[in-house]
């Protein structure tokens, strides 16, 4: 597996993506430490809608706040939410999927449930769930986990079903290893890589879905910087101050591009069905 991971260096596209993502990730991680909270709160109407300059690299917004600082702070929120959503979906999906693969009595009901979830477009279902829970970023994250786990569940189940047939599982069973121990100590570690290979592209997809839902109204409001909300807020000034829409959008685009470049490579390397 490590050899496969190291092969990323041979793909120009994937390594560019990885470097780009790490740079954005680091910027998002340090932004809240370096940028004082007052940047978000202090309204300076004198400096409203100033174009990009040496002082304000991305210009200022309709509250006179520095857009560069807002975009960086938003990186921290968007990445945190997208990464935790995918992590949550992987945990829920792989556990439920492993159960489906190992306990044949539960296999059929679990698979039919995932069928139903997968028959509704995830953005639309997430919209409905978040709308009932109430508009907030936290509820949006919950909704996104609820619509993202079934795909991991299916993948994991398929993996476990093939893994179950292998001799080492049978010999461990003869040795008296129980089902829980079997799943978590032996089967999951051996089957996790193809499942996790989906993750980079999925983080990219969740990031865009999050920004889109935030744009249409699930956003956290003007005092919590988030990329989709920044675009929505800037849209009112699109002809006067196009930079307000341009820079947050470029941030979303570059982040999701970096993740998709890595994801495209990961799928080829780790997906056993595509290996030839």
């Amino acid at each position: 597996m490590l050899a496969q991971l190291a092969s990323i260096r041979r793909s120009t596209l994937a390594s560019t993506g990885a470097v780009l993502f790490l740079a954005i990730f680091l910027a998002g991680a340090v932004a809240p430490l370096l940028i004082p909270a007052s940047v978000v709160r202090d309204v300076q109407f004198g400096a409203r809608l100033a174009p990009p300059s040496a002082e304000h690299w991305f210009g200022t917004d309709d509250f006179g706040r520095d857009l560069f600082a807002l975009v960086l702070l938003a990186a921290s929120l968007d990445l945190r939410v997208a990464l935790s959503v995918v992590l949550g979906a992987i945990v829920v999906g792989t556990v439920v999927g492993a159960v489906a693969g190992l306990v044949s009595r539960l296999d059929e009901p679990i698979m039919r449930a995932t069928d139903i979830f997968l028959s509704i477009p995830s953005l639309v279902l997430a919209m409905a769930i978040a709308s009932v829970l109430g508009r907030s970023v936290q509820n949006l994250a919950i909704a996104l986990v609820l619509v993202s786990w079934p795909i991991y569940c299916r993948l994991m189940r398929g993996q476990v079903l093939t893994e179950k047939q292998k001799p080492y599982v049978k010999s461990l069973r003869t040795l008296g290893v129980g089902p829980v121990r079997m799943i978590f100590l032996h089967v999951v570690p051996n089957t996790l890589f193809p499942v996790v290979a989906r993750a980079p592209a999925d983080v990219g997809l969740i990031l865009i879905t999050l920004a889109a839902l935030s744009y249409i109204g699930f956003g956290p409001g003007p005092y919590v910087p988030e990329w989709g909300s920044l675009v929505a807020a800037g849209q009112a000034y699109i002809f006067q101050a196009p930079w307000l829409v341009f820079f947050p959008g470029v941030a979303i685009f570059l982040t999701s591009l970096s993740l998709n470049l890595v994801g495209d490579w990961a799928r080829d390397v780790f997906d056993p069905r595509l290996r030839s």
Partner: protein
Amino acid sequence: MGFLSYVLRRLAFLGLVLLGVSMVVFFVLRGMPGVDPLAAYIAPGLPMSQEALASLRQELHLDEPLPLQYVYYVGNLVKGDWGFSRTAAQPVLEALLARLPATVELAFAAVLLSTAIGIPAGIVAALRKDRAADVAVRVVSITGISFPVFWLGIILQLVFFYYAGQLGLPTLPSRGRIGDTIALIDPITPITGLFLVDSLLAGKLAFFGSALRHLVLPAFALSLISLAAVVRIMRASMLEVLRQDYILLARSKGLPTRTIVLRHALRNAITPVLTTAGTTLGILLGGAVVVETVFAWPGVGSLAAQGILNNDSILVVGFTLFVAAMMVLVNLVVDVLYAVVDPRVRY
């Protein structure tokens, strides 16, 4: 078994899928922990007496056990009673159906665009596997899925409406389905609700032109959502078909590559693109929520987005059910057409 019984069995199966979907939707509406289901039915901030709340609760059967509530819920859905939308000031199903043609027109244009670009691009990528053209198609399609569509829509408006206008170039409209003036002075009577079709039927070319110009930017933005999927599926399936023995035979007979690809391979390679039409439609309807909002397109998606802003969960949940039902319907049509076209499909 006959064709009719195949169709009936597909219908029964899709009925089951719809039942499952209705369970998920019902659970979202009534079963979320910590959420009072009554809240969805009341406008926030509306003063209501305890008695009024209690009688509403009773009327909606919210005091009954959940399984019984579900029976009432499905019964109402079947009768066409999907609840009342505060946003549209109309029953949910009525409001969605009234706005459906606008969305159908937009989604259909997007499908046309993404297949017209995606299928040739996928074929080229497969024929030139791992060469420059394949890498180029791959990079372009990865770039395409990485664009936040709402942002791209705004940038398109900025370039083709605002900047083009400032430079004195021909512009494209940025909002709505039709020019205000033409809609006032020379309106058409809706027949199908699709502006392009209705205006042609009425022979009103100016109306047709305006509708077409309004369609360009939103359809292009929406098509990007499904484009990458079409390219990827087309490429993979073409590669698969080109490995088959009958292609080898065609090659050894000395047929030109052009004939082999277009006459022999394409026919078989294109079916996976068609069978994923239902899924593609679902993705497009999700995308329509965002694209319609950006372009003020009066379809079901922008209505749902307004519903979110108004905390109108009844509408948003109804929209979810509506989208799922449309996908099921399209899947049925595709399955049936597939069985008609492809003799290998056994009923």
